[in-house]
């Protein structure tokens, strides 16, 4: 697996010998913990009710929603490694809203809302997840996944803009 530090640097186009790489090295602890957060959100030892394949597919969907094709490619790769098939593989299609699968439809609706328009979220969004049978621990796991991705995508966007500086 590509380390997160390398992933962020690769996606942001940070050359190993550049001045920007030296700036990032001063915050090496942060980039290491970002990697650990990625692993905890995407590939936890205890995934609860949301499988590694579903997490990778939802991450790819968030990347597409957020106009981050380079991350979408990374998460597609993670999806195939996790063996995403059937409706799980369809999650990455932004037109697919879960079909007849009420659990999947609830997951997708929530991910789209939190990734794109978190300010509009109210208690009703959480009630909808509970109504679709999603457990409370899984609601927190899903929220952490989308929230982490939102952080990761923004760090990469910022690093890309910083390339001109050094």
């Amino acid at each position: 697996m590509v380390a997160m530090e390398d992933l962020l640097r690769r996606i942001a186009g940070v050359e190993a010998t550049s001045g920007l790489a030296e700036v990032l090295d001063k915050r090496a602890d942060i980039f290491e913990m970002t990697q650990e957060s990625h692993d905890a959100a995407l590939m936890p030892a205890d995934p609860g009710g949301i499988s590694h394949a579903e997490r990778a597919a939802l991450a790819c969907r968030v990347a597409r929603l957020t106009d981050a094709p380079d991350f979408a490619t990374h998460y597609e790769d993670l999806m195939s490694k996790a063996g995403a098939v059937g409706t799980t593989a369809r999650i990455v299609d932004l037109e697919f809203l879960g079909g007849d699968d009420t659990r999947l439809a609830a997951l997708i609706r929530h991910v789209d809302l939190i990734a794109n328009d978190p300010k509009s979220a109210t208690g009703d969004a959480i009630e909808a997840l509970k109504g679709a049978g999603i457990s409370e621990p899984d609601i927190v796991r899903l929220s952490e996944l989308v929230a982490f991705l939102s952080y990761q995508l923004r760090v990469a966007a910022g690093l890309k803009l910083m390339r001109v500086l050094t």
């Binding site: 001045g19 920007l20 700036v23 990032l24 001063k26 915050r27 602890d29 942060i30 913990m33 970002t34 650990e36 957060s37 905890a40 959100a41 936890p44 030892a45 205890d46 609860g48 929603l65 957020t66 106009d67 981050a68 939190i114 990734a115 794109n116 328009d117 978190p118 300010k119 979220a121 109210t122 208690g123 969004a125 959480i126 009630e127 409370e136 621990p137 609601i139 927190v140 796991r141 929220s143 952490e144 989308v146 929230a147 982490f148 939102s150 952080y151 990761q152 995508l153 923004r154 760090v155 966007a157 910022g158 690093l159 803009l161 910083m162 001109v164 500086l165 050094t166």
Partner: protein, 190 residues
Amino acid sequence: MKTLHDFTTTVPAWKPHVAPLDLAKATVAQLDALKVTPSNQKVSDYVLVLAHDVETLKVRTPLFNAIMYNRGGLSRAERELGAVSSSVVNRCIYCAAVHASRYNQLAREGTTIAEIFARGANAKLEPRLAAIFNFATRLSQSPPTADSADIAALVDAGLNPDEILDLVLSTSLFGWANRLMHTLGEPIEA
């Protein structure tokens, strides 16, 4: 209890939409991540909600502290301003209150936050703070809209690359925090 919808520097209470973890039923891993000991049983409802995903919580806490409090780079006050900018975009009233009040304490002034809360993205600020607020606001949009002109404005305002990296990190961190605090519960009158 009344749900708060307007920005304030008075830190509200927070009412969870998901049941906080029952400490009596916590696993060893959860107690470890929460740093609960016989002499320390005080854990906020917010952290007890997050403890349902203990693997993420365990790394997020030190990551949060490193981004907001580590040495060098951007001043603590200006990192708080990055946090506030994100919280305003995402309308996380609770996060905005906590980090606006910290900004005011650290910067020893209240006019910047008052202007941001009153006028949002149209706030008129002194040049360095305006460059920080504008960049952080645009990085927080979904998708982010920050561009090379925003970075040039940060450079013109005197920020060096170390400081700009810390601003990217603190602003992005609140893209994460807002999506937990604002969606898993709501701010109510304290």
